[in-house]
């Protein structure tokens, strides 16, 4: 089971209280380095929840969640000028530089970048570099948005363009029960209460409990099943999925196992929940 994040969320909750002063709009210049061994038993739980056949090559979503508690530690730092709770994960980019295998020890280096201007507020990026035996295997940029917050010193940055989305004919239906929030929390260590409990979700403005975005994204990647040595996996998070819920999935471009795009979307409104792209990456 992944490292518990209760203490981090506790600290994050404290940060939302109007106490103490956050005067500087700058990010603290901190980074975290941590080595994490890839354990088969813990990975098996993750793989099964996100519908990945258990093999020796580790799903990139798992490399994300191993670094996730560390990224939350960085974001929960009192000197970070934005509140961690309430920040929304809007985009995630993973460059898989080489396959990573069970038994490998992953050396993580994490740092924050930003704050950046965004039309809807301000974003902060968590940048993760992962190495195995000194060899770069993965680099990740997770973009978090503090909605409605504008910081005077934020850098300008090109945003991922908001593409027009026309819902395709779904080729798969995902019937998501509320239990999926608990199952993903258990295997990922992300116990954010909005994924576990309807009341907590209401507190953050959602009518019901919502699915973990990285659950949906990781499951979509399992379905896209890239069989490439090196690739870029881009994910844009749109509307959250309310649980329970049945959503559509389809490839919108390319083919399974290759470079492709996929969409997870609302069956009634046709609005996207998670849009993913796998692209070739030159080594």
């Amino acid at each position: 089971m992944a490292e518990s994040m209760f203490p981090v969320y506790g600290r994050a909750l404290l940060k939302t209280l109007p106490i103490g002063a956050r005067t500087s709009p700058e990010l603290p210049e901190r980074s975290i380095d941590r080595s994490v061994p890839l354990e088969p038993v813990a990975y098996a739980g993750f793989a099964h929840v996100i519908r990945q056949t258990l093999g020796d090559t580790v799903h990139p979503g798992y490399l994300h969640i191993l670094a996730f508690p560390l990224s939350m530690q960085l974001l929960a730092d009192p000197e970070v000028p934005l509140p961690m709770l309430g920040m929304v994960h809007i985009h995630n980019r993973v460059d898989m530089l080489a396959p990573v295998h069970l038994g490998d020890v992953v050396d993580y280096h994490l740092e924050l970048a930003g704050p950046f201007e965004h039309t809807k507020g301000t974003t902060i990026e968590v940048r993760v570099d992962a190495k195995v035996d000194g060899r770069p295997v993965m680099s990740e940029v997770s973009t978090y948005l503090a909605k409605g917050r504008k910081l005077p010193g934020a850098e300008s940055k090109a945003q991922v363009p908001h593409a027009q989305f026309d819902a395709p004919q779904q080729t798969a239906l995902w019937r998501l029960d509320p239990i999926i929030g608990q199952r993903y929390a258990q295997v990922s260590g992300d116990y954010n209460p909005i994924h576990l409990n309807g009341l907590a979700a209401k507190g953050f403005g959602f009518p019901r409990q919502i699915a973990h975005g990285m659950y949906t994204a990781s499951r979509a990647l399992s379905a896209m099943d890239p069989r490439l040595d090196a690739y870029r996996w881009d994910v844009s998070f749109a509307k959250p999925i309310l649980l329970p819920g049945t959503v559509g999935y389809a490839l919108t471009e390319g083919q399974r196992h290759e470079a492709s795009r996929s969409a997870v979307f609302d069956l009634k409104s046709g609005k996207p929940h998670v849009l993913s792209q796998v692209a070739y990456l030159e080594k």
């Binding site: 080729t171 798969a172 019937r175 029960d177 239990i179 258990q186 389809a250």
Partner: protein, 429 residues
């Protein structure tokens, strides 16, 4: 004497009448029904106490306790307990694959006789628990101390306790077979009327066959059921037209698939007796037909590149090419009616120049089938479709049909879950 590879002959069959789910057979297990089907065959051919070369069989919806289902059925039957058996599975093609594999073993000279069988109960279905609960129970089982057990047990949540019944949903897509077929139906533009006509013909043909006594030596009544309970001999276009669509309601195209032109969930079992020509002669059995060749195909339906149930459309051209045959060489076409629109989609594909050239790799369209030759004794829309029992029903039916009518050759085609299909050529012996 025929070539060594042509030794196997089909000698007969026996099935229990098929019953709609949760009706007459609701308390009968797969083992009960399979044993009954095999025992009926054993009685009809006087094989009690005899050691058969091998019995093959399977069920699509199978309890884990039934890991040796067919062997258990043999042990409970009148066959000699020294008769070996094996289970196999190819979704709805299980029953036909059971025939094909024994046919091949006989042709290879490995066995002299065999019984191919299949069964399915959608009433006595295996129910499983949520994956989280299952993982917790397995962990509990592995735990060594009370403290470990208490910690693991503390993870149990009420939501984990809800049982999960099996569905006809494809594991990779979550779409039911009907929802998949609705997409294919729309793509091929199969009309509601054409589907209803096929369904009515199926009921009328099956009713006529029962009325004529055709099934008297192919079935044994069971639990008070002496005819397929889904059969409605008085089906007509008016009654079919009254039914509301059940699949394809989420699609842009008009929903056309109803409970009348789709097969219902069904319980039942079937068996087929096969033997070498010598074994048949020694026992004084008259061969009905022989299965001369078979071809399986599969399609990549996962992201919608091809329809889930379209694999037979690919298997048939390959089977015909290998045997140097065209549709004109066949007197009968036994195409399993998973849905009326499945059959009609296959027919449309074979009539399509575009499909045959671009997808099946042919020079021209395969052609059309004389509808009088299609499922002349009805098929699954009328009889019902206990998944693994359908292959045995079709093989025994068509073998006897060839024998009694003096016709020569039958094409058998069965679509299956997972984007698969199995097809075979049966010729009069």
């Amino acid at each position: 004497m025929s070539a060594p590879s042509q030794r196997a002959v089909i000698l007969g069959g026996n099935r229990i009448p098929f019953a709609r789910s949760n009706k007459q057979y609701s308390k009968a297990t797969n083992l009960d029904m399979l044993t009954s089907a095999i025992d009926g065959l054993t009685a009809r051919f006087g094989l009690a106490g005899e050691r058969i070369g091998e019995v093959s069989g399977g069920a699509v919806l199978k309890h884990s306790k039934d890991f040796n289902l067919t062997r258990e059925a043999v042990l409970g039957s009148a066959l000699a307990p020294t008769t070996p058996a094996f289970d196999l599975g190819q979704a709805c093609a299980t029953g036909l694959e059971a025939v094909v594999s024994l046919n091949n073993k006989i042709n290879a000279g490995q066995i002299e006789s065999g019984i191919a069988s299949g069964v399915d109960s959608t009433s006595d279905a295996p129910i499983v628990i949520d994956d989280s609960m299952r993982e917790i129970l397995l962990e509990l089982n592995r735990a060594k101390t009370m403290v470990q057990r208490a910690k693991i047990a503390a993870q149990i949540r009420p939501a984990y306790l809800a049982p999960q019944a099996p569905s006809t949903g494809e594991p990779r897509t979550g779409l039911s077979m009907g929802e998949h077929q609705a997409i294919t139906t729309a793509e091929w533009g199969i009309t509601r009327r054409a589907q209803d006509e096929l369904a009515v013909a199926s009921h009328q043909n099956l009713a006529a066959a029962w009325d004529s006594g055709f099934f008297d030596d192919l079935t044994t009544s069971y639990l008070g059921v002496s005819r397929d309970t889904n059969l409605r001999g008085d089906s007509n276009m008016e009654s079919m037209a009254k039914l509301s669509p059940v699949f394809g309601k989420r699609l842009a195209a008009e929903a056309t698939m109803t409970a009348g032109n789709s097969t219902p969930l069904t319980d039942g079992a079937s068996s087929v007796l096969l033997g070498s020509e010598d074994w048949a002669a020694e026992h004084g059995f008259t061969p009905l037909a022989r299965l001369v060749d078979a071809e399986a195909a599969a399609v990549d339906f996962v992201d919608g590149a091809e329809g889930l149930l379209m694999a037979p459309a690919y298997a048939v051209p390959r089977l015909l090419a290998r045997n140097g045959l065209t549709f004109d060489d066949f007197d009968v076409f036994e195409i399993h009616e998973a849905f009326a629109s499945t059959v009609l989609s296959h027919l449309a594909a074979w009539e399509s120049e575009e499909f045959c050239r671009e997808k099946a790799g042919l020079d021209q369209a395969l052609g059309s089938i004389d509808r009088d030759k299609l499922n002349p004794l009805g098929s699954s829309l009328a009889a019902g479709h206990p998944f693994a029992a359908t292959g045995g029903r079709i093989i025994a039916t068509t073998a006897k049909y060839l024998k009694t009518t003096g016709k020569k050759r039958s094409l058998v085609s069965i679509c299956a879950a997972g984007g698969q299909g199995l097809t075979a050529i049966v010729e009069a012996a």
